[in-house]
C-alpha cells in the first residue's frame, strides 16, 4: 500500500489542526499520516538504529503540546522536525552516557523477519536506496537536504532550527547535492534510486 503523503492535508490544514486540538482522534491521524513518513525517513538517514523509537517519542511530545500549538502547516512541520531533532540529540547524549555493548553475533538464520518484509523491500527499494545514499553524506549536508526535500522547510526555517545562517544552509545543501551527484555518477556506483 502506498499513500502519497505529500498533500494529505493541504488547504484544510487549519481545520484539521483545530479539530485535532479539540480532541478528534481521526483528524490527528490525518496529521500523523501526513507527516510521519517524512519524519521516519529523516530519522532513518540520521539515526538509522533508533529512527522508529525517536519518531514515537517525537509524536508523544507533539501530542502533549498539540493543544497549545498555534501556526500554519509550515510552522507545524518545523515544530515536528525540531522536536524530532531534540529527541535525536537526547538519544545521542544518552548513548554517550550509557554506551551499548554489542551482543553476541546473531546468525542470519536467527534474525526475526516480519511477514512480507521482502515484498516491502521490493516495493520501496527506490526510497531505501535514496535513504542509503543520503546516509553517506556528511551529517550537516544530509540534514539540510532532508529538511529541504523531505520536511519541505524553507532555508530560513532550517537556519533557525540549526542555529546557523541561511547562507550556510544553502552552501551545505548545494555541497551535499554535488556530492550526491558525484556518488551517483562516479565510477563503480550504480544508482537504484531511479528504479
Amino acid at each position: 500500500m502506498c499513500v502519497d503523503t505529500q498533500h494529505v492535508v493541504g488547504d484544510d490544514f487549519a481545520a484539521v489542526l483545530a479539530a485535532a486540538q479539540s480532541g478528534s482522534e481521526e483528524h490527528f491521524a490525518v496529521l500523523w499520516r501526513d507527516a510521519n513518513p517524512a519524519l521516519v525517513r529523516y530519522l532513518r538517514v540520521l539515526v538509522p538504529d533508533a529512527a522508529e523509537d525517536i519518531a514515537a517519542e517525537t509524536w508523544v511530545s507533539v501530542v502533549r503540546g498539540l493543544p497549545a500549538f498555534i501556526g500554519e502547516e509550515g510552522a507545524w512541520r518545523a515544530w515536528l522536525f525540531t522536536t524530532a531533532r531534540r529527541r535525536m540529540l537526547d538519544q545521542a547524549r544518552h548513548l554517550r552516557r550509557h554506551p551499548a555493548e554489542p551482543l553476541d553475533e546473531i546468525g542470519v538464520a536467527e534474525v526475526p523477519t516480519a511477514p512480507g518484509a521482502e515484498q516491502l523491500a521490493l516495493d520501496n527499494i527506490a526510497t531505501e536506496s535514496a535513504i542509503a545514499l543520503l546516509a553517506r553524506l556528511p551529517e550537516q549536508q544530509a540534514n539540510v537536504i532532508l529538511l529541504r526535500v523531505v520536511a519541505g522547510l524553507d532555508t530560513e526555517v532550517i537556519a533557525e532550527m540549526l542555529g546557523t545562517s541561511t547562507g550556510a544552509v544553502r552552501v551545505a545543501a548545494h555541497r551535499g547535492l554535488r556530492k550526491l551527484e558525484a556518488m551517483l555518477t562516479g565510477p563503480g556506483v550504480t544508482s537504484r534510486a531511479g528504479v
Partner: protein, 318 residues
Amino acid sequence: MPDSQVPPIWGPAYDERDLEALLSGETGSTPPALQPVESTLAALRGAATRRELSDEAVARAAFRAFVPVSPTTGPLPWAAEAEPAAVTSHTLVLPPADHRQQPAARHRHRRRTAKSARKPSMAVTGAAVAALIVVATVVTGALTGSISELTSFGRQPASSSASARATEQSPGSERVLVTGAARDRIPSPKPTVSSPPAPRPTPDPSSLCREYFEYFGDFGHPAQDAGAAWIALNGQLSTLAGGSEPSQIFVYCLHTLGYPLPGKGGFPPAGGPAGGGGAPGWADPAGGSLGAASQGSQASGTSDRGQSGYPGVSVDHP
C-alpha cells in the same frame, strides 16, 4: 599527456539555480548531470510505505492518553476512507489516564478548598481567643497582682516589688508600672504620698476610698514614710468594710465609688451613682463574680472619664 587526463575546460553542467530548483522540487528543466540526483530526491519525496504507517496505532494511543477527547468532533469522511483497515483493527485502546486521575484531583482540590475555607474561621477564632486571653491576663493578672502586692504591702508597708523598683524614677515624671502581665502608663505619684501622716477627723467613705485607690494605684512605689498613713487608712476602711481583708476593702471601695456589685451585699449604702461603668471581665478576688457587668456597663479598659489610679478600671467620680 593522454587526452583522457586533460581536465575539461568547460565548467560544470549545472549551477546554483539548478540545485535550488532540485531542492524546491521543480522538475522539467533539470540538467542531464543532475537527473540521477533528481530521481533520488523524488524517491525521498515518494509515497509512504507500509512500514512508515505501521505505528499509527501507537500515535493514536498517545493522542488518546494526552489530549482530552471531544465527543462532538466526528471523523472526517475522506479521512475514514483513507484509513487502512489493518491500522484500525490494531488500534490500541489505552485506559484513559485522565479519567482515573480525575477523582483524586477533585478530591485534592476539595480538600484544599475545605482547608482554605476553614482557615479564616480558625484564624478569627484564634484571634478572638488570643484577645480574650490578653484581656483576661491584663485585667485579672493586674488585679491579682495588685491584690497580692496590696496584701504584702499591708504587711510590709515599706517594701516594694523588685520590678516596680526597677522602673522607679524620680517623682513628677511619667513612669511605667509593671504588674504581672500588664504594662500600663500611669500618672506619677502625687506629692501627698510622701507627706507625713495627718489625723483624720471625719472619715468620709468616698474620700477614704479615693485615697485608697490613689495608694492602690501607687502601691508599688510608696515613700518610705507613707507606711503609717497607709496603715491608718487601711484600718479605717477595714472598719467601714466590715473586715480587714484587702479584697473586702477593695470591693467596698468599688461599691462606694459607684460600682454596684451584683450579688454582693452587706456593705453600707454608698453614695455613688447607680448603674455606673463597670469593670468587665475580671474576677472577684473574694470569690464572687465581678465580671458580669451590670446593665449599662461598657467594656472599657483605661477610663477616659476619671482617674481611678488603677489600670483597667474606670471610675466615675461622684
